[in-house]
Symmetry: C2
């Protein structure tokens, strides 16, 4: 290993660069950005994906392009990341488009669509089915250049204080669930609640809250819900795979030298892939521990699955009828999903189904 | 858009750089590598993944680090990529570890294990389960630093001239199938054949070959097998997801400046993710066209699936008993797989199963 030789060479280069600094500064300008993450440091995988991008960008540019990562609330809160990026308060943010469906439901497509595509299908649509182009066209109105930069995989359906045996048991249930998943669950009788993360546990304990949807086992475990709500449902059909993105202020993006753009895009693509790989490893460990702590794993009852599926696609139809931007993306998404589902029924899922059965038998 | 301003700035920098060239040359040295792909240009997705890496590396280093990609046979053939990288004939190659299981079956783990992990599970093991560290330790003996750099997803089980209704129909069947999949199919009565790609079609047409395994719909379609062998089986259980890698000569890797290493690793991670996204889009289109051309899609009969599964794990047990290197990687792989399968049975697969059923009903 020639580490010392490399370091020595770098030292000489640095000394020479001092003399010739104007030229070096022009070709590889020193750039400092701030990234506001929509996540607290405690959500180590999602917060960490932002850090991974910053580290890779610095390493790949010999520390010339540095991005400092701030946790949610340090500069702006999670729900202000779009506005702050749009108006240039910050150069970029690591955030989740589905936070902004209140501005326009079209924001949903970049993150995940309830009962939509899985991770592989979503990536195929984004990069080779025209999805990302449509998302970027839509986001131009917000002065933001989005780059896919993370992935959770399919999430869990949440923690319930009582067992849910049929759709009847959802009627009047007070559940902390946000976004479009909340809208769909509301059609099934659930009363969606808005609570900050820190308020969920005491509300569940007191029984003023009946259920909570948060993330997957790795993230959920830290919040200790198992002690106050033992039934842990799956799948989290509203997020068959949630994809956070790096939102970059359009002006800042355009000013970036072409090779820094290339570095940033590759670093985000890497974080996108590594984030879900990390979750897949971490969730597998966490679910084992949770089962050891007495969690009762339950699939959602069949009628909950079927009714939520119907309500989801009914909602998309309504949104497409009233919102031309939504319709444009939905039409592409919908056609692509149909063909992906057909293909996955052939090679991918029969492989998974069979292995799953064989493993279940042992 | 400040494109002109950026270009103007770059022009000034280039002029200044001419004066100060020694300093610039040290910090961002001009490096030229050759990458020998194990694939012909006609396999556009796999060959293209190597090109994607080269383009991204050039773009991210302002064209200072350039990698020229050569198709299989232009410098060395697919099966010589390891030797040529090991002895430094070429700096790097884009290749598939499973080509080299004749040297040591331990090479299998980096590509795919028959009836092993799917793409997500494999990535989780490689990057967050210690898999890549083990693979790199093993590859040190070959003077190669491997970087995961592509992915096919689950492949098809191949083209058969006659319908396979049970394991009995495999007895004596002459099938073009390589590697460990061939070893397992041999246990089921198949007689594996070695044929170059160009010889397959005429052999199938004449009936001197009964079946052929190649890749997935997008790649297979080009070879026109549907005209001479209409039964197209799934899943290709020997490759639930094949991962090509960039093999880098260890000396060349060590000489690379740290920021070029960072660029190359990010570019490979990006290609790894984009390759499977591209296949997932392309295969979905190709399978539709193939069905339109009269292909008969068939799942492998249950007894073929079950017996091949048994034979596969029996083989791994035998290899682990006689090969300490194999055992070391297998033990890690096997334990990780168990926990991944448990986790995927909870959130991910029930989501896929249900969506699959709903789509099938329409």
């Amino acid at each position: 290993m020639d580490r010392r030789k490399v370091l020595k060479g770098a030292g000489l280069a640095a000394a020479a660069a001092t003399v010739a600094s104007p030229a070096v500064a022009q070709t590889n300008p020193e750039i400092r950005w701030r990234m506001s993450s929509a996540y607290p440091k405690s959500l180590d995988t999602l917060y960490g994906a932002g850090e991974m991008i910053a580290k890779r960008v610095a390493a790949a540019t010999d520390n010339k392009f540095q991005i400092q990562v701030f946790a949610a609330g340090e500069i702006v809160g999670a729900l202000q990341t779009l506005d702050a990026t749009q108006n240039g308060t910050i150069e970029c943010s690591y955030t989740l488009s589905s936070f902004f469906i209140g501005k326009d439901p079209t924001f949903m497509f970049e993150t995940s669509v309830p009962w939509g595509m899985n991770v592989r299908q979503h990536n195929a649509w984004m990069h080779y089915g025209g999805g990302l182009d449509l998302v970027r066209e839509f986001m131009k109105d917000y002065n933001v250049y989005p780059i896919p930069a993370g992935q959770t995989g399919a999430q869990m359906g949440g923690w319930f204080r009582k067992e849910i045996k049929s759709i009847e048991d959802l009627k009047g249930l007070k559940m902390r669930i946000a976004g479009m998943g909340g809208q769909i669950m509301q059609k099934l009788g659930v009363v969606p609640q808005v609570l900050a993360a820190g308020d969920i546990y005491p509300a569940l304990e007191r029984g003023t809250l009946d259920a909570v949807e948060f993330s997957g086992p790795h993230d959920d475990e830290k919040l200790g819900f198992v002690k106050v709500a033992q039934y842990y449902y799956y799948p989290g059909f509203w997020e068959g795979g949630a994809q956070p993105s790096l939102y970059v202020n359009m002006g800042k993006w355009n000013e970036l030298p072409a090779h820094y753009k290339a570095v940033l895009e590759a670093a985000c693509a890497e974080a996108n892939a590594m984030c879900v790989a990390k979750y897949d490893a971490q969730n597998a460990d966490a679910i084992r521990r949770l089962v050891g702590q007495g969690v009762q794993l339950r699939p959602f009852p069949r009628d909950v699955m079927e009714q939520s599926y119907k309500e989801a696609f009914k909602l998309y139809g309504e949104l497409a009828a009233s919102n031309a931007k939504f319709k444009k993306v939905f039409d592409s998404w919908s056609a692509f999903r149909e063909k992906e589902l057909t293909w996955f029924r052939i090679a991918e899922l029969p492989f998974d189904f069979f292995v799953n059965q064989q493993q279940g038998q042992r």
